[in-house]
């Protein structure tokens, strides 16, 4: 049994992040979001609301889209984590970047990393999404700039191009 660390003690948590094995010293209830940003300096993951409503802190945890503000770091022990920084090598990254630029899908940029990860999570499961699928896949990600249509169009365009290839 993994016994209780003392409430005030930091302990070593290991996980794989963007393909690299990492260890951090953290309190078990530290938010994964804070560990990513402060300890690992992966500041591409943004904090918006801090209560799971806005999707700015979206990451992939063992392949699942999650809000990293709602994950205590102890629950990421042994997990494989992908942040926006780890997406640069992903086959969907260039098409999505291009489509977001063309459609005006990125403006202030705070929501963009989360939008991209939500889009990747969707397109990996549904390579040819209907507009309703895109709306649902991105419904947990809020944007205060674009009014959403540009973002939805960007994801649709990236999907169409990928399928056309």
């Amino acid at each position: 049994m993994n016994l209780a660390p003392a409430a005030d003690a930091k302990y070593e948590v290991s996980f794989t992040i963007n393909g690299e094995a990492k260890k951090v010293l953290a309190h078990p209830m530290e938010r994964l979001l804070d560990v990513l940003r402060s300890d690992l300096k992966l500041t591409g993951t943004k904090e918006g609301c801090g209560e799971g409503e806005c999707g700015s802190c979206s990451i992939l945890l063992d392949g699942m889209l999650v809000n990293s503000c709602l994950v205590p770091v102890a629950q990421a022990s042994g997990a494989s984590i992908v942040t926006i920084e780890g997406m640069s090598a992903h086959a969907l990254m260039k098409p999505l970047q291009k489509a977001f630029l063309e459609c005006g899908g990125a403006q202030c940029g705070i929501c963009t990393p989360g939008m991209i990860l939500a889009a990747v999570h969707l397109l990996e499961k549904k390579p040819e999404p209907a507009l309703a699928d895109i709306r649902e896949g991105l419904a947990g990600n809020l944007c205060r700039c674009t009014g959403y249509m540009q973002i939805l169009e960007a994801v649709a365009r990236a999907a169409r191009r990928r399928v056309a290839k």
Binding site: A7, M64, L65, N67, V71, Q75
Partner: protein, 292 residues
Amino acid sequence: MRADPAEYSLVSPGNLHAVLALMAREPAQWLPIAGGTDVMVLYSAGKLPNRKLINIWSLPELRQIEVFPDRIRIGAACTYTAMRTHDIVSREFPLLATAASWTGGIANQNRGTLGGNIANASPAADSLPALLVYDAEVTLISVRGARRMAYQGFHSGYKQTALAADELIRDISLPRRFSGYCSHARKVGTRNAQAISKVCLAALGLLANGTIRDVRLALGSVAPIPLRLNETEHVLTGKKIQPSLIEAIKKSVAREIQPIDDIRSTARYRTAVACNLVAEFLEKLATGGADA
């Protein structure tokens, strides 16, 4: 004020037996945390009264959906995603699959759990009216053993549950006898994802020779607990659906619910919507289940 993680402990005993042993040794001291979609919100805001948390997210005993000839058993830590993508859940329990699709966005559906929704005991929870109409049973477990009870008796008042201080919800069991029913699920809120319901309805109905043989109605956000409309169901049973019945039923619904004014809506609006949702369901049932 944001919470200081140094003031909290989170232990991961790793198996159900060890979790229950710790909860028995120090009853009411350990707050179970699964996907964290409720607990972490309170924690981050510095409003979580508990300082000791026990991790139940990765217990395999709580993550299975098991299918038996007469029922399905959903582990308490099954996520909304697991439910809505499960073949039998989506085919035979569409009210539950639909409610799962309304809950949060995809990221929260990947973490939020059915047992968490029940234990959190919000009267506005989207999946709970579905459990009421499907005659769900919950199994509660502790070192003292397991006990099974009808979900309908689980909530005793606002945020009050039948859980003892050392107990955990192990699973939710649904009988497989409603797949022939006409079903209707509706959420009224500011948006589907990421917005808490003003009112939500789960309804099942079965007609025989033009009259209602069986009807089951439950509403969220209209009372201190998720509410089954027993009296309205009783009035409907054996009747033929016609305009005069629908008008009478709206009055019955209004008598049976106890909505309040809060930041999301008013009691008056909730009453009007609740009555209209039940009327909409009856119209759909009368036309043989085609969506109105």
